[in-house]
Structure formats: C-alpha cells, structure tokens
C-alpha cells in the first residue's frame, strides 16, 4: 500500500519533496556546483520528473528562495505578539527569527549566503524579504520612540540606520549560531541567541530613544 500511495502522491506533495531536496543540496554545494542529478537523487525521483515539475535549475532555485523567504517572514510575523510594548514585540520577533533559522539552517544558508550574490533575479527576491524585515524593525523603533515619549521624533535617517544595524547583527548572529564556530559552542539554543541580541540591542536602543547619547568625553 505504501508503494501505491507513493505513486499516487499529489503533485504538490512531490514538489515540496523536490524543494526540500533542493534546499539541502544548494546549501551543501552552492548554487553553481549543485546538480539536478543530485537533487533528483536526494528527492528519490527521476531527473526528468524534476524538470517536468520545475523546468530548470534557475526556476528551482527561485522556487526555493521564495519558499524559504516566505517561511522565514511568516515565522517572524507569527512570533511577534501584537499590542504589547515595543521591547516585547522585538523580543518575540527575535525569538521567532532565531528559532526559525536554527530549525532551518539549510534554508538560512541559501537565503543569506547564496541567493543574494547570484545576481538577478535571485538577489531581488532576497532583497524584498530583507526590506520587509527592515521595515518591521523600523516601525518597532518608531513605536519605541513614541513609548519613550521622545520630545521630537528621531531623525528618519538615524532610525533607518539603527534598523539596518539591528538586522545586520541578527544575520551575523544567525550565521554564528548555526556554524557552531569558535565561541558558539554546540549550536546555542535559539532563545539564548535571541537573548544575547536583545540585551545588546535593547539597552542601547532604549537609552537612545530616551534621548541619551554616548559621548567621547574629554
């Protein structure tokens, strides 16, 4: 019965299996070195079937990026508690981000290390995801400024810079946590990674929003 079931597997399910195999293969080999042969083998289907469903390596890679980007954006969106204070929103968003990147290290590798440097159209898809996350963080910082009762709104340029700094810090930390590299230990729990960034970022942002500045002193 298992064999019959497998043959009758709906197209959508088969396609997801191919995408799973593609994420794994692209993450391990890189876009250029990954072969359709290997992807078909990992997926347990024939190469012609992969071409039939997804046309070309380019389209397969695009489909992978779209799926992984949508999953990451959705994980962050779903994690953020609505209607709470800005710091709690950031905290819940960071927990969602690091939980997702820790659970899907291959997807994160494809998005962050590979897609954005393979040129059009892949880079554009990832840039859209990144812009969406930067926008969320920018809104959060704006909300934080309001909560802090800022006399005057912080300059748009500074808020944008802060948002880019925070997103870059999160990307770098996700790579570090997934690498288990020097000092990262055996892949730290996602909540610990989120706490590291929250502690780093919030106290800094919080003070900034309250109008405090670091000064080089005398």
């Amino acid at each position: 019965m298992g064999a019959v079931k497998s043959k009758r597997m709906p197209r959508a399910v088969r396609e997801q299996q191919m995408l799973d195999a593609a994420v794994l293969t692209f993450a391990r080999r890189g876009y250029r070195a990954a072969s359709m042969d290997e992807i078909a083998e990992v997926a347990g289907v024939s190469k012609p079937l992969v071409y039939l469903y997804l046309n070309s390596k380019e389209e397969l890679f695009s489909a992978v990026i779209r799926r992984e980007a949508a999953a990451l954006a959705e994980a962050v969106r779903a994690a953020v508690e609505p209607g709470v204070s800005a710091d709690r929103q950031l905290w819940s968003g960071l927990k969602g981000f690091f939980a997702h990147t820790a659970e899907h290290p291959d997807g994160w590798t494809v998005l962050h290390q590979q897609a954005r440097t393979q040129g059009e159209p892949f880079a554009v898809e990832v840039a859209v995801l990144r812009a969406e996350i930067v926008e969320f963080v920018t809104a959060m910082i704006g909300a934080a400024a309001q909560e802090a009762g800022c006399d005057r709104e912080p300059a748009a340029r500074e808020v944008s810079g802060l948002a880019h700094a925070l997103v870059g810090a999160a990307e770098s930390l996700a790579d570090w946590a997934n690498s288990g590299g020097p000092g990262a230990g055996e892949r730290p729990p996602a909540k610990d990674t989120a706490a590291t960034l929250m502690n780093f970022a919030w106290a800094g942002l919080g003070r900034l929003m309250a109008g405090e500045r670091w000064s080089p002193g005398s």
Copy 2:
C-alpha cells in the same frame, strides 16, 4: 615626456593601476561578468600585459581581495587609539572602519558582497579578515567588562556572540551608508554612521558589562 614617463613606469606602480582598475570593474560587474578586456581598458594597458603581470582572472581577484582586506584592516588598526578606555577604542575603530568603507566603496563591495560567496580560495581570504576584526572586537568587549569591574567575567560564548552581532551591524551599516538607499540620504558622513552604531552599541554593551539585563517583565 608624459608618454615616455608612462612607458618607464615601474612595475609596482603599473600593478597598482591594474588592481585599481580591477576593483572598479569587479565591483560594477561582479566577479564572473567582469572581463579581462574591460579591466585592461580601464587600466589603460593591453590585455597581454595584465596577464603577464597577474597571470589569470582568479589571481587578479585574489590580489584585489588581499590588497583591499589588508587596507581595511590597517585602516581600523591605525584608527584605534591605544591605551584609552574601551569605549573610546571602539569609537575610534568605528570611525576608521566607516571612513575607509566610505572612501573605498568599490573595495568594500568586492570584499563584502562578492569575495565571500565565490567559494575557495576567495572566501577564505575574506574570512581571515573578518576573524581578525571579530577578534579585535572580542578583546575590546573583554576590556570593557574589566573596566566595568564585572564580578565574574561574562561567558566566552556571550562575548563571542556580542562581537559577531557588532561586526554584522557594522557590515550592514556600511552597505546602507554606501548605497545611499532609503533613509540613508546622500551617503551620510562616515562620522555620523559611526556615531549611529556607537550610540546603539555602546549603551547596550555598557549596560550589559555592568551586569544589567533586559527582562521580558511580567
């Protein structure tokens, strides 16, 4: 006389001109699309001369990465004031970093956007540079902890995570500042970019080192 001078130009000077042309061309076109024809044209020399001096596109790209990485590391090293407090060391290092990346946007693009994703051996050269900068920041955070009179040293894992967060934030901000993208304005002055990150990072790090923690509260 100009022509004679140009013909008698020492090899080292010619080589630097070729590397200058290569940085420009790689930054604009990307590694794969950049052609030796265009590099020779930009350098104002013949293509055979480029091959004679630098052997191949691969070796030329390697030479570019080594030169740009060494220049960036040296700029940061030279900028850091020795023997001052940890926050002033970080501030001077950040000013050096953002001044250099703003003055050498093509070199920064090659290092950050291209080299680390073109596989071996290029990625390794950039990884060495990044590791060196992470190490400097790690030592700085350690010194900050000592200055703050931390009862117990912060866990090595957390210090490493903070260093990676700070470096990722700096990389992201350098891209943002150089892009002149949304909110970045017309390429903000390097000192302003450094101040944005310093304000963001220091108050956060400073509090952390003093043993304060952000807490999700009730």
